[in-house]
């Protein structure tokens, strides 16, 4: 183990530089501030700051917002911003983790079938649960279980099929399981055409205005998953070199991969359960960081959490305000603004670190 540790230190890529850490945090803080200040209802900059100061018990300040506006700020807008940050950070982190673990630049958080499984779970809940349970509470649970079931199936299919080439087989198993679950989901949906609208909006993905309850619901999963992944961030660098190389460095490839995949899956499933399918975040954010900062996973993973959170909060600001007082599905915004931004980064950094 001692030599392995030494060799790990030898291949260790550049770590987190203060410049990029500072830039990412500044981006997130800026996004959070914009997220709280901007919305379909103009609450006014001064009154919002007063209300925040009053909540923080700054002496001599009292909120000048009306009770309704106060409720809009604290019960609708704030939790939505926080939820967006949690989900964005989690999706970006999961995407980056999958990319490292599977050595596949196109890996996204939905690679192993989480999305398809969660979609099936949600559709089943919408279509078959009795009326009393059909409220919004049962949906996240069903989606979470569906997502988890799909990944377990992917893992067992992948393991039964392969000995040596684990990573590639798992990805293929994921594609297979995802297609199968999507077929089931579409079938259930067709059989219950009256649920079309609900399933459709769920699949488009959005940050719900459900108050603090969804934040509380996913916070434990997201925190735990992120902590586990970040604790393994150096190992991801080793894994990204290749299974044989990692093994020769003393890493238990199968065990570590399982831990990372389970963590990324649990986190993604929790995010998907409350927000539906929000695409692109898990690919764009890690790649943009990679191209700009050119770092290994040791720095990429924490940067992805912070930048992903900021990215999704900003995207949700657009979803909330571009057509205010109507909303745009968030998945459309992330792709519409994310793709050109990604192309720009690709163009300006071509031939660089990526």
């Amino acid at each position: 183990m001692e030599t392995a540790a030494a060799r790990v230190a030898y291949v260790r890529p550049r770590g987190l530089t203060p410049l990029w850490a500072g830039a990412a945090v500044a981006f997130l803080v800026g996004a959070l501030v914009i997220g709280v200040l901007v919305g379909p209802i103009d609450l006014g900059l001064g009154p919002i700051l007063e209300s925040v100061a009053a909540r923080l018990h700054v002496p001599g300040v009292s909120s000048s917002l009306s009770p309704t506006d106060n409720a809009i700020l604290w019960e609708i807008r704030m939790p939505r911003v926080v939820l967006g940050a949690l989900v964005g950070g989690m999706l970006a982190l999961s995407g980056a983790t999958y990319q490292g673990v599977f050595r596949n630049p196109l890996a996204d958080p939905y690679l192993l079938g989480v999305a398809a499984g969660a979609g099936l779970g949600a559709t089943l809940a919408i279509a078959y649960l009795p009326e009393g349970l059909r409220g919004q509470q049962a949906l996240p649970v069903a989606a979470f279980l569906g997502g988890g079931a799909a990944v377990v199936l992917t893992y067992s299919v992948g393991r039964s099929a392969s000995r040596g080439r684990d990573a590639v087989t798992l990805v293929l198993a994921g594609v297979t399981v995802a297609s199968f679950f999507t077929a089931l989901q579409t079938f259930v949906q067709q059989e219950n055409a009256d649920t079309l609208q609900q399933v459709y909006t769920w699949i488009l993905g959005s940050i719900p205005s459900s108050g603090w309850s969804d934040v509380v619901l996913i916070l434990p999963y997201v925190t735990l998953a992120s902590a586990v992944i970040l604790a393994h961030r150096r190992v991801v660098d080793v894994l990204s070199l290749g299974d044989d190389e990692a093994r020769s460095l003393g890493v238990d490839v199968r065990r570590v991969r399982l831990v990372l995949v389970v963590a990324a899956t649990v986190g993604t499933a929790a995010a998907v359960a409350v927000c539906g399918l929000i695409g692109f975040v898990g690919i764009i954010v890690p790649h943009a960081i990679r191209m700009l900062a050119g770092t290994g996973y040791r720095a990429l993973l924490p940067l992805s959490v912070v930048a992903g959170a900021g990215f999704l909060v900003l995207a949700d600001v657009i979803a909330r305000t571009a057509l205010a007082p109507a909303e745009i599905p968030l998945g459309i915004v992330t792709a519409f603004f994310g793709a050109p931004f990604f192309a720009l980064v690709l163009r300006t950094t071509r031939g660089g670190a990526a």
């Binding site: 309704t68 809009i72 079309l196 909006t201 108050g211 057509l323 599905p329």
Partner: protein, 304 residues
């Protein structure tokens, strides 16, 4: 049915074309007895003799057919048609129709709300006349569809009577309720994620007729009729009346609405002016339109 705003919008557009393009003219000029020819956007449709084996793939048309006395001629309806209770419900789908399964009932007339993947062309090749009646976007369009069904099934005078009855009852309700509704605002909820219906939509016309201000209107910049509102906006608008058309599909009640963050400040929640309307009544444009008006009238009565 029709809980899908994009599809609904497309259908509404198609209905405008179909209804606007000549069905009424056809209705006026058609002879009383069979053969009957109606003119639609897809061309002339001729029904040679009084149909005895009608299939309805449209829940709204099913309700209308039974209301005008054509029920005994209906041999099969699609899996979404659930009113009246006695309809011959089958597993036929109006969304993903199977031409062979439909033809297997040997129909002599098919009524549909959609025309997906060349359904009507395929059936016409088999010599089966098809009447496509997409979602109406106005009361006039809804009445025209009932009139058209009367024509093609041989119940012209019954259809006229149903239409007159609807008009009379609705006018009476509107006259009585309009003064109470003056200046009040309404929020119509299609789904718990706040899809609503503006005045451009068919349900929106109901609120317009009652003189209610529809809070979805300023959000419907795209003109689809079905914008998704932001929660902040609904709370700040504080509508006087909330109509839940997602009580059956999604289990929404006055209690679930009141429990949403910030919604306890909305006037309708405070005064208890939350109406649960059966999803199917609020999403169809048939004879039960009167029931919808009645439910709203009683809510307005309680408000004032």
């Amino acid at each position: 049915m029709l809980r899908f705003p994009l599809v609904a919008a497309a259908i509404a557009l198609a209905a405008l074309v179909v209804v606007g393009a000549g069905a009424p003219a056809g209705a006026r000029t058609a002879p009383k007895a069979f053969p009957v020819t109606i003119v639609t956007a897809e061309g002339k449709i001729t029904v040679a003799k009084r149909p005895l084996r009608v299939i309805s793939l449209s829940p709204t048309a099913t309700e209308s057919l039974f209301a005008i006395g054509a029920g005994p001629q209906v041999v099969a309806v699609d899996n979404q048609s659930d009113y009246p209770k006695s309809v011959p419900k089958t597993s036929l789908s109006g969304y993903t129709p199977n031409v062979e399964a439909i033809a297997g009932y040997r129909p002599d007339l098919v009524v549909a709300a959609y025309d997906p993947k060349g359904l009507s062309a395929a059936l016409r090749k088999l010599g089966i006349p098809v009447v496509v009646q997409g979602a109406a976007s106005t009361f006039k369009g809804a009445y025209q569809q009932i009139r058209q069904l009367g024509l093609v099934t041989g119940h012209v005078s019954n259809a006229a009577r149903v239409i007159t009855g609807m008009k009379t009852k609705i006018n009476r309700i509107v006259r009585a309720s309009r003064p109470k509704a003056g200046g009040l605002s309404v929020y119509h909820e299609l789904t718990p994620d706040l899809y609503s219906a503006s005045t451009k939509s068919f349900v929106g016309k109901v609120y317009e007729a009652l003189g209610l201000r529809n809070i979805a209107d300023s959000a419907d910049t795209a003109g689809t009729g079905y914008p998704q509102l932001s929660a902040e906006y609904v709370v700040s608008q504080s509508p006087d009346l909330i109509v839940l058309a997602d009580s059956v599909c999604c289990g929404q009640t006055a209690a679930t609405v009141a429990a949403r963050p910030g919604w306890d400040r909305i006037k309708a929640v405070r005064s208890g002016s939350i109406v649960r309307i059966d999803d199917s009544i609020a999403s169809r444009w048939g004879p039960r339109l009167v029931n919808f008006f009645r439910a709203l009238a009683s809510a307005l009565g309680r408000l004032s």
